[in-house]
């Protein structure tokens, strides 16, 4: 376990939830003493991040017995938000128990693992907590003949379309769409690289946890990172849109060595700044819905007329509102205040992004009231940005309105930036 020192600012956005209260830490003195050696403290706090990126603290108290004799383990969750799924906490506390057994004399991590096994500790999604859209919803979709490849991430099945060969071109969709959004671009880009189009968890052909609290900015980032690592994507050109940008830019900041170019379209990287009234209006509207009529939303937003079958394809992942949790939650997860979950992490990520000199292309539509004004933020972050590329007449879903045109622009730009 690697102990870290979180900033006071990060802690100010989190609440600490006492999970374990050990009043008898020195019931076995040798264990208490080993913990003192391993943490370097007899009283006070140490922090670590779990494999779920949750921040935990171990607090030790010295009751004058010459060793730590009481302990508390806290989980730090986003303020005002429910805590993450219990199986994530169970998995993290089991990791912590394994650490205790590793550092303490007379305890063996293998015993802890075995006890956990026959205690049936639930460290993955419990039965019935994850939905999977039936395959037959995805047959004969216009312009989308692609069979999915599935990648396992944290016990969830994440779907992606893979076409072509060469350096990967990772294309990330956003709210409330799925890989289908990129269908006009896939064939053109597959001629110059290996196109990888995942469906975010909760969307498209990927698995869909039912519970609201499964979905946070942090969990989506984790799943995306897990996906990139599972496919071991390197020399990636990241193409992203809407939430695909909010997530992709975080992944870029966390693993910059895997990326060589960035194409961001009608997205943003909210760091607590005012996102403008059009977005807030959409957020209010979306948060008042119990279900989303995704085909109607897409019809309304697209500047090109969608056929019935195309509109229906956008609704295919959602046979009923039970499947729509991710889509219903997404607008709420967009950081809209400086203390909103994710805003601080984005401010930290921006400091890293500012140091990158990978080539950046920002195709931006001129008919999108929501993310239209957000291009300048990204332009200011990156050092090596191509001149403005306005996609005239396109709306928010510019891949739908002008997919081929954008794909051609990207192809040309890929060629122009190939010598890196």
């Amino acid at each position: 376990m690697k102990f870290i020192t979180p900033t006071a600012e990060e802690l100010s956005y989190l609440r600490s939830d006492p999970l374990v209260w050990e009043q008898e830490l020195d019931v076995r003195p040798e264990v208490a003493e080993a913990i003192e050696r391993a943490t370097g403290i007899r009283a006070g706090r140490v922090y670590w991040r779990s494999r779920h990126d949750h921040l935990y603290a171990l607090e030790l108290a010295d009751l004058g017995r010459g060793r730590p004799s009481m302990a508390m383990v806290y989980g730090h969750w986003d303020r005002y938000e429910p805590r993450p799924p219990e199986h994530e906490i169970d998995a993290d506390l089991l990791d912590f128990s394994l650490w205790v057994a590793e550092v303490a004399d007379g305890l063996d991590p293998a015993d802890v693992a075995q006890v956990a096994q026959f205690a049936g500790v639930q460290t993955t999604w419990p039965e019935g907590s994850v939905l999977r859209t039936p395959d037959d919803r995805f047959t004969d979709l216009p312009g989308f003949p692609y069979q999915p490849r599935y990648v396992e991430v944290e016990g969830l099945r994440m779907a992606c379309v893979e076409q072509g060969e060469g350096d990967p071109i990772l294309m990330l969709h956003g709210e409330p769409t799925w890989g289908y959004l990129y269908r006009h671009m896939i064939p053109l880009l597959a001629e110059v690289g290996r196109v990888v189009v995942p469906d975010l968890i909760g969307f498209g052909r990927s698995d869909k946890p039912v519970a609201d609290n499964a979905y946070t900015y942090k969990s989506h980032v984790r799943w995306l990172r897990g996906f990139i690592e599972a496919l071991d994507l390197r020399r990636v050109t990241l193409v992203c849109h809407d939430w695909g940008g909010l997530l992709g830019l975080r992944a870029l900041a966390q693993m910059p060595e895997r990326f060589i170019r960035l194409v961001a379209m009608n997205t943003g990287f909210p760091d607590g700044r005012d996102l403008g009234e059009p977005f807030m209006r959409w957020r209010r509207f979306s948060q008042q819905q119990r279900s989303l009529d995704v085909p109607a939303i897409m019809r309304m937003a697209a500047r090109r007329a969608l056929s019935d079958a195309e509109a229906a394809a956008y609704g295919a992942p959602f046979p009923s509102s039970e499947y729509e949790t991710a889509a219903l939650v997404f607008p709420r997860l967009v950081p809209v205040r400086p203390d909103h979950p994710g805003a601080y992490d984005n401010r930290v990520a921006i400091e890293t992004l500012k140091t990158l000199d990978l080539p950046v292309l920002l195709p931006w539509s001129d008919n999108d009231p929501i993310t239209g004004p957000w291009e300048s933020q990204l332009r200011a972050i990156f050092r090596n940005v191509a001149p403005s590329l306005v996609i005239a007449g396109a709306g928010h879903f510019l891949q739908e309105d002008a997919g081929e045109q954008i794909a051609v622009h990207i192809r040309n730009w890929l060629g122009a930036t190939a010598e890196r």
Partner: protein
């Protein structure tokens, strides 16, 4: 003034129809069943970890029908008694003081101790404080000494790992491996879902199961362990029980207190009858072989001290 208890759920009534009474002992509420009336000899039916008076449901009717007064308390921390959130309140000396207080407040004279698991040391510990009023002793799969430690209690798989510092909090409290996994897991005769629920529901409230962790941690394995001195204080006084009719009833298939524990008890209490063994029973023999054990106890008591106190 008697404290009030939380209400027993309706589904439990058919399995456990007796009225739960309550007393304040050492500032905390102790729940108990008291059946048979004051003219019968009091028989204290003492459970251990992680059970409660429900474990003795097959004993109450046979005892009262034979003229005895059956009293089944729930230890503080368990059953319908208070569940204090402080481990220090749940040690052997506290449990002993709680039972002594119950014996005093109910003015029990000529009482019998029936103890299994922690009911043994806690019951005998209290009886040694009220020796003048003790009539007889029934010990089932328990221990009263430090000198012998069986494989189960010394083994890291699962026992010493289950209750280790910090790790034990995860398994015992967050995962409730014992509070939801006692008799319902070891049962030999099979158990209905309602019976399992009767054992589990008392720990439904999060963090209500401190006692489930304090108990294993106070089983002394080595000199200096928490509970070592307390257990030795009991062991040293066992010769004082020489005049008290005593019987050992044992489930030899129990892997927690195998028959070696009975043999050691027999060395310390040479006047004791038995061990009389009961097969097809695991650690919670009262649940596996309740009616047979109740019959054996009534037979033993009728023969030695009789139902009149």
């Amino acid at each position: 003034m008697n404290p009030t208890l939380r209400a027993k759920p309706d589904w439990l009534t058919s399995l456990f129809p007796w009225e739960q009474r309550a007393l304040t002992v050492n500032g905390r509420t102790m729940a108990y069943v008291d059946e048979g009336g004051p003219e019968g000899r009091p028989v204290l039916l003492l459970h251990g970890n992680p059970t409660w008076g429900f474990l003795y449901r097959d004993f109450i009717r046979p005892l009262t029908e034979a003229g005895y007064r059956a009293i089944a308390p729930d230890w503080v921390g368990a059953g319908y008694s208070d569940h204090p959130r402080v481990d220090a309140a749940l040690t052997l000396p506290h449990h002993i003081a709680d039972l002594a207080s119950l014996i005093d407040q109910l003015r029990l004279h000529g009482f019998v101790i029936v103890g299994q698991d922690w009911g043994g040391p806690q019951g005998v510990g209290a009886a040694l404080q009220r020796l003048e009023r003790l009539a007889a002793l029934v010990l089932m799969n328990t221990w009263l000494f430090t000198g012998y430690v069986g494989r189960f209690h010394a083994s890291p798989l699962p026992w010493t790992t289950w209750h280790a510092p910090l790790i034990g909090q995860f398994f015992m409290k967050r995962q409730k491996v014992l509070s939801y996994g006692g008799p319902s897991v070891t049962t030999r005769r099979g158990m209905t879902e309602e019976e399992a629920r009767a054992y589990h529901h008392i720990f439904d409230e999060p963090d209500s199961d401190h006692v489930v962790l304090t108990w294993p941690r106070t089983i002394p394995l080595r000199e200096g362990d928490r509970g070592w001195a307390d257990m030795q204080a009991i062991e040293r006084r066992l010769p004082e029980l020489a005049g008290v009719p005593t019987v050992l009833l044992w489930a030899p298939e129990d892997n927690v207190f195998p028959i070696e524990y009975a043999h050691r008890l027999k060395e310390l209490l040479p006047h004791a009858e038995g061990p009389t063994t009961f097969d097809n029973a695991a650690h919670f023999l009262q649940d596996d072989r309740g009616p047979d054990l109740a019959r054996a106890i009534v037979e033993f008591l009728n023969r030695t001290v009789g139902p009149a106190p």
